[in-house]
Every structure is written in C-alpha cells, then in structure tokens.
C-alpha cells in the first residue's frame, strides 16, 4: 500500500459510512454470524434464496472500515447471482471489489464477509435446502 489515502479511498469510506444492504431479514432462507476474535470484527449475513439464486441479502455488523466496506460491496455484488457463482468467489474477487492490496493482518478483515457468505451457503446446502 503506497499511501494511507489509497487504502481509505472514497469508495471504501463511502461503503463504510453508508453500508448498502444494511439490516436484517426476518424470513431469510439462511443467516449466519462470523466473528474475528483477534479484532472483534463481526458480520451477520441474511440471504433469501429462490430458484438457487440470491433473491435478497442484508448484513449487519461492526468492525473496522475494511471489514464493513467489504461486506457492503460483497452484498451488492451477489444479488441475483446463483449459488454456484457464489461458491466460486475468491479472495481475489474481494480485493478487486475493494480495489486495494492489503497486508496479511488486514486481509483477515477484508475476508470476513466472504467467510460469512461461504459458511452461510454451506449451512444452507447441508441443513436447510430440502
């Protein structure tokens, strides 16, 4: 990271301060909570899945700018996508969304939302889907 302004660029701060898809969904198909004990970042994600696609998604959480902005961006990205598409998401996709490179410590913050999403899908497929 060459400068701190690059890390905390406009769009990241914008997503942090005005998170998209913030909130909860009462009748979600699956919801799941992940927690990073090292820094206390938290994300809870709610997914409505219809015809194997994400019909709606919301999240709520607390933590650093990177963890919350990445969750906000990710929820925007996945709306309408199929479950199979979601399974293919990688760390690189998240970094692309954020548009920055990160140190290993901060990478954990950025990837918390992806972990939450992947585990939500695992739970959905294993326990909920009939």
């Amino acid at each position: 990271m060459d400068s701190i302004e690059a890390m905390y660029q406009e769009n990241i701060l914008d997503h942090y301060k005005n998170p998209r898809n913030a909130g909860k969904i009462d009748k979600a198909s699956v919801h799941h909570h992940e927690y990073n004990p090292l820094c206390g970042d938290e994300i809870e994600m709610f997914l409505v899945i219809k015809d194997k696609k994400v019909a709606d998604v919301k999240f709520h959480g607390r933590g650093c700018a990177i963890s919350q902005a990445s969750a906000s961006m990710l929820t925007e990205e996945i709306k309408g996508k199929s479950i199979e598409d979601l399974k293919k998401l990688t760390k690189e996709n998240i970094l692309e969304l954020l548009g920055i490179s990160l140190s290993p410590v901060r990478l954990k913050c950025a990837l918390l939302s992806l972990d939450t999403l992947k585990n939500s899908i695992l739970i959905f497929e294993k326990y909920i889907k009939k």
Binding site: I4, Y8, L13, L38, G40, G63, A65, R106
Partner: protein, 417 residues
C-alpha cells in the same frame, strides 16, 4: 578475560539524557514509510540497546558452551555468567539470593509453572482469586487448572475508573482463598494495583500472593520484600532484554516445598531406577539446557537499567504519560480507558473509528501502536468494547514523539471525517 563487551553508558544519572539513551538503540534510527519510527508499542515488547544485542553476540562468539556440566574453560565462563544473571535479577527486585530466581521463557511460563505446581495440593472447592483486568496469561492457566482440579475461580471487579473495587477485594478474598494472583500494572488500563495491601489481605486469610509483574518490572523499582509477594513473574523482552527469557521469583521455603513443573536433565541430583532426588534451588525448576544467551542478554539489560536507575525510568515514564494524557484530551471524540494516575500505557478509542483503522493510519505516519483486545478479552467485555488502540511508552520515548502521535491522531479524524 573480560566477558562483557564494554560500551560507554549514558553517564547522566541522576537525570536521564534521553537523546543519549536513544543513540544506544539502533532500531530508533529506522524509518517507517519514510517517516522516523515512533515506537509506542512497548507494552508488547521493548526495543533493545546495543549493549544487550552485543552481549548476546559476544557470548556466542567467545564462550558459547553448555552450563553446569562442562569441565572446561568455556563451560566455566558460561556457567559463571549464567549464574551471575540469577544474582543480578535477584538484586534487581531486592530478592535475598539467586536461589529465589527461576528462569523460564516468559511471564506466561512462570505463571503456568505456578498454576500447575501450586494447585496440585489444593482441595476441591478451594478458591483462587484473580481480577477482571488480568492478561490471559494470568487468567487462562488458573481457569483451566481450576476446571481440571475442581477449584473455584473468583474475580475482583474493577470500578468505573479502572481501579480494583475495594469492596470486591474484601468480598472475594476470604478464608476459602488459597491463591491470589494479580497483575501489578494493567497492560490495558495502566492501573497500578496496591499489591502490598492486597498481599497483606491475602496473607491474613492464609492465601499465597502471586504477582504478574510483566508491566511493572520494566517501569518501576520493584521490591519483592516490601511487597511481601510470595511469587513475582516477569519477562525479559519487555525490559530491554531478549525474547525467550522470563523470571519467576519465589520465597525460598515455598519453592523448596513445590514440586517441579518440568522434569529432565539438570534439575536432578540423583536418579535411580525407582526414584529421583531433585537439585537445589533454583536449578530444580530449570530442566534441560536453558536459554543461556538470553539470560546473559537479560543480565546486560539489567545493567543498563541499573545505570540509568529505575527511579529515573519511572519518573520519565510517568512524566511522559502525564504529558500524553494532557495532549490527548484535546482530540475530537477520544475516549481514554483507565485511571488518571497510571503507568505508561494509554488505551483509547476515537469516536466510532475501529482501533484497527486508527493503528493503520498511525502506521502510515511511522507511529507504531497496538490495536485489539491486548490479550484481555474478559476486560474488554467489562469495558464494553471489542477492541481498543493502545500507546505505551518507555525510557527512549520523548514528548516530541507524543506530538507526532497527536498530529497523526488528528489525521485519523480527518481521514474518517
């Protein structure tokens, strides 16, 4: 042969010449992101003066050998220096003798040794008392041993200022208490606990007093006799010494009756097929080949601190923290945790900005602080936060560095405005 590399010590006693001291720390010349390094993560580990770095190099270059068992010149020189390190450590905390000083690898190991050895003799439902502000290393060992051995773990609560609550001290330390284990200085709040008073209460109730001195030994004169601590644990790496060397002080009669924690070579006197006689103190607790170079490094660190004088170190650190508290109070949205009267540690949060983001922006200005739970998750839950940012100072830090820090905090506020 003179075994110590000789260096000019800062000849400034009784007043500290910080600029002179800074010259002894090679790392302080370093730039971080093109800015001069401002190292404010001393509660995690301190930097090392060249006297310490060189003493370790000198040992490896000139008299590296195993101790206690070698009948040759190098072995004798190494043994002498290793034993001298015990003696210097004893003097540093006003213990009677080298026999009171057990070397370990860090505070954590010292406390684990106690948790295992001291709880072995306790009975079901006997009580151990710690406080809400303990580091995980003075908490998890007691918690786990209590679970294994059916003991009860109790907590002294903290009041809203971050001091131990007086009523809670009285309520928790009772005739049922067998061990009280308490931090001397909190690594999060900077609170300086009244260990001497609490030791008295513990003893009146027939309990042992264990003190976690990891944050105190580096920053203030420690007198284990005046405190009347039964055990006192600390780490070399937080007091200018290398990593890998920790100290456990114990009263002689207590150490004598305790079962060793680690078994093996060196700690024995005589081994037969059916039984073993253990070595004299302190060697009965030092099993296997020990951290010889690190003990010699610790010795050099103690020499360094003694030449400056722990009174001076304490005065400098307390003045810095007072200056910093004054400067920080002017920053928008800052919340500082802990009491006004404190040692050189300041935990804080800036508005709703996460501590990670604060640390990251400060890093870009060359300022190294810590962000997280500081190995005190129970305390974080009492404070009602997930994390704090923490700046901690030491003898080579200056008011000018605090000004850089304050400017950097204002920058954090601008970035997140």
């Amino acid at each position: 042969m003179e075994l110590n590399a000789t260096f000019k010590m800062p000849s400034t006693k009784p007043l500290m010449d910080v600029e002179q001291i800074r010259k002894n720390f090679p790392i302080l010349q370093r730039k971080v992101h093109n800015k001069p390094l401002v190292y404010f993560d001393n509660a995690a580990t301190s930097q090392k003066p060249k006297q310490v770095i060189e003493a370790i190099g000198f040992y490896y270059k000139n008299y590296n050998a195993n101790i206690h068992r070698s009948i040759h010149e190098l072995g004798e020189e190494a043994t002498e220096k290793y034993e001298e390190a015990h003696k210097k450590t004893a003097d540093f905390i006003n213990a009677d003798s080298y026999q009171n000083i057990v070397f370990t690898k860090n505070t954590t190991e010292s406390l684990n040794l106690l948790a295992y050895s001291l709880t072995a003799k306790l009975k079901k439902n006997d009580e151990i008392v710690v406080s809400q502000m303990e580091h995980h290393s003075n908490f998890v060992p007691w918690q786990q041993l209590a679970k294994q051995r059916g003991l009860r773990l109790k907590f002294i609560e903290i009041d809203k200022d971050g001091n131990l609550d007086k009523n809670s001290i009285k309520k928790n330390i009772t005739k049922k208490t067998k061990i009280v284990s308490l931090t001397h200085i909190s690594n999060v709040l900077g609170t300086i606990n009244p260990v001497e008073k609490i030791a008295k209460i513990a003893h009146e109730n027939g309990a042992l007093m264990v003190v976690d001195g990891a944050q105190a030994a580096p920053h203030m004169p420690v007198d284990v006799k005046k405190l009347d601590a039964d055990f006192y644990a600390f780490s070399g790496h937080k007091m200018l010494g290398p990593t890998g060397i920790g100290v456990l002080y114990g009263k002689k009669e207590l150490l004598e009756e305790m079962q060793p924690f680690l078994y093996g070579g060196e700690m024995i006197r005589e081994v037969r097929f059916d039984d073993t006689k253990f070595n004299d103190l302190p060697w009965k607790f030092e099993a296997g080949t020990m951290n010889i170079a690190e003990a010699i490094g610790l010795s050099a660190a103690i020499d360094y601190l003694n030449k400056i004088g722990m009174d001076n170190v304490q005065k400098h650190d307390r003045e810095l923290v007072e200056y910093a508290m004054g400067q920080l109070k002017g920053i928008d949205g800052i919340k500082i945790y802990g009491p006004d009267e404190r040692d050189a540690v300041i935990s804080f949060n800036l508005g709703n900005i996460h501590a990670h983001d604060v640390a990251q922006v400060l890093d870009s200005e060359g300022v190294a602080i810590r962000a997280g739970h500081h190995c005190c998750m129970p305390l974080m839950s009492v404070l009602g936060v997930a994390a704090t940012a923490r700046a901690s100072f030491y003898l080579y830090n200056t008011e000018k560095e605090i000004d850089v820090f304050v400017n950097a905090l204002n920058k954090v506020n601008r970035v997140f405005a």
